[in-house]
Amino acid sequence: MTSFLTPVAGRWYALPGLLRFTLRRLAAGILLVLGITLVSFVLTQLVPGDPVTANLGERAAADPAVVEAWRRQHGLDLPLPQQYLNYLGNLLGGDLGTSQQSHRPVTQDLAQFMSATFELALAAIAVALVLGVGLGVLAAMRRDRLADQIIRVVSLAGVSVPTFWLSLVAMYVFYARLGISPGSGRLNPGTTPPPDVTGLYTVDAVLSGQWTVLGEAAAHLWLPALVLAIFTIGSLTRFTRASVLEVVGNDYVRAGRAKGLSPSYVTFGYILRPALVSVITVAGLAFGNLLGGAVLVETVFSWPGLGAYAYRGALTLDLPAIMGVSLVVAVVYVVVNFVVDLLYAVVDPRIRLG
């Protein structure tokens, strides 16, 4: 009759649990990155037309000896798996090919443009998290009242606006008409960027104490970041609302009320935490959306980042550039989701066991 007193709890493996979880997710992440390189390799193989012609021009491609030499030189005579391994080796060595538009190694281009995209995406995710979560919580708390209905329509509009069009309209209104935004680029023409530490101009300006540069960088940043955030604000609002409402229906919230705690205490102590923890899981996805949207926003705002680079690549069908960008973005996406998973496991004690 004492069997029910036997504790299930009693072993303490919080840290090892987290470690195991981390290692498992890490292995999955590495596999995913390998898969991404495979996708990228397969896509390069799909390109119609002869790569020799594309690279050497019609005249040289007419000479079989030249073609043969070129193919051997680039390993194109090897079987596909072997080619993939070579490709992988090149990737690990940081060789992503040569961009046809800039005639520079793609790796070099990516390194140059990456930080601009990060600055934009980070600013956008910050805006989106604050506004999206705030509006979502508000909507859930005022469920089915007027505020909820308005937020519902606004968030639906947010996920329905074509980002590239909104960029254009924002530029037209805030730059051309109102003059509130300084227009395209990261800084005014002629301004020297702050000394490179993080590559994020706003942060670097703070680090070096260049306050006018900071003001300028921020003035250039806010509009594209806001435009980029709109879609994510819409989706985060909707997700947060659903998440809060789901938590509210739980017994443990009713139990919290039954304790006689004040409504605001129940909201902040019992409802928001689990609701926001599940928002964390979609924040990673949202970041991916932002990186994708950046292609469109950067194009319109002439923001010198990966997106604008990919756009120029798309115009000239510069495949190494496009593949480079998608590879980097996908890997960053995987890394962000890995971090998000870890964060989730730290915040939610249940995950570690699973």
Partner: protein
């Protein structure tokens, strides 16, 4: 409706439900009656069982006492706690009663404990809120409570999260949470239904020990008369939002005066007698909004007469403190349908 008479010299009730009705909104503006004309008395140190099938209004009664009815619900009548009408209290004052004077234990400890808060936080949250004690004092109190409900390794348990514990352990923790502010009344809503069999007895025993050690009253809500048979001092049986029978446990269980109570008892398995068979009550309890006229039980009742269809019988005292809302003797010959066994399980 006549309230059952009280034995002389009984202590003043700690919780006194008088003529409570609860109605819930339905689509299209109609209102659904969840509880009607409910009377219930809970005295200090007493365990009162509230029995009935799901949907009979047991849980709504409990939620009404705590002011936790779903939005749009309306109430009439009184729920007196130490003489104060809880239904008339403003929200803020009601919150001071909740968790401090009246605490609740929920059915499923898998969902009623917060998955992301430590056990310590869940025990001490309302303790600190209601009693304004320091964190250290609250912690000491929580430790003591975990020992009271017999959680092994209470020091560690305080720091851990609910998912580490089995169902029975969690229910013990949930009881510790309820005990935190030394409430005068605990409302336990199906506290053993979600638990494994071997664990149920332990939880019931714990509740019984606590009420005697602490002179605490327990309102034990369950569909399972078997749970009551070992624990409750008095039993009220509800059907379709009304109390149909009311009395001391022994009287109700051995000499049920309402055919519905009788049916519930017959439907229980009775392992000691190998020959006895289970007799389910024919038919289904009325679903929301379809309560039949007259006595709501008449469509399922083997003793139903003309008058049962026309008129709703009130509670009538048939023996000291034992009343039922039925004019027939459920041990008399039935008027229709299959005869029920005269044997009644204890």
């Amino acid at each position: 409706m006549s309230a059952p008479s009280e034995p002389a010299g009984a202590p003043a009730p700690v919780l006194d439900v008088r003529d409570l009705t609860v109605t819930l909104p339905r689509r299209g503006g109609a209102r659904l009656s969840a509880v009607s004309g409910m009377n219930l008395v809970l005295r200090p140190g007493e365990i009162v069982g509230l029995a009935g099938e799901s949907g009979s209004g047991k849980t709504m009664t409990a939620l009404a006492a705590l002011g936790l009815l779903p939005g749009g619900a309306r109430t009439t009548g009184e729920i007196l706690f130490e003489g104060r009408d809880l239904l008339a209290l403003p929200q803020r004052a009601l919150r001071d009663v909740r968790g401090r004077d009246i605490a609740m234990v929920f059915q499923d400890p898998m969902t009623s404990l917060h998955p992301m808060l430590t056990v310590e936080r869940q025990i001490t949250d309302h303790l600190r809120h209601h009693r304004r004690v320091s964190r250290a004092d609250a912690r000491a109190r929580a430790l003591e409570l975990l020992e009271t409900v017999r959680i092994p390794g209470p020091e560690q348990a305080l720091r851990s999260y609910p998912h580490r514990f089995s169902g029975g352990m969690r229910q013990r923790i949930a009881i510790a949470v309820a005990l935190a502010c030394d409430p005068k009344v605990i409302i336990a809503d199906e506290p053993t239904t979600a638990l494994d069999v071997t664990v149920q007895a332990g939880i019931l025993r714990l509740l019984d020990r606590l009420r005697r050690e602490r002179d605490m009253s327990v309102l034990l809500i369950t569909h399972d008369l078997g749970v009551m048979s070992s624990l409750a001092d008095r039993i009220s049986v509800m059907y379709a939002g009304r109390v149909v029978e009311n009395g001391p446990r022994r009287d109700v269980l051995t000499e049920p005066r309402h055919p519905y109570t009788r049916g519930l008892l017959d439907a229980l398995p009775h392992p000691e007698e190998e020959t006895s068979e289970l007799r389910p009550i024919p038919g289904q309890p009325p679903s929301a909004g379809t309560t039949p006229a007259g006595c709501p039980f008449h469509p399922r009742c083997a003793w139903a007469r003309e008058s049962c269809v026309e008129r709703l019988p009130g509670l009538v005292e048939l023996a000291p403190a034992h009343s039922a809302a039925c004019p027939v003797d459920p041990f008399g010959p039935p008027l229709s349908g299959p005869p029920l066994s005269r044997e009644v399980p204890s």
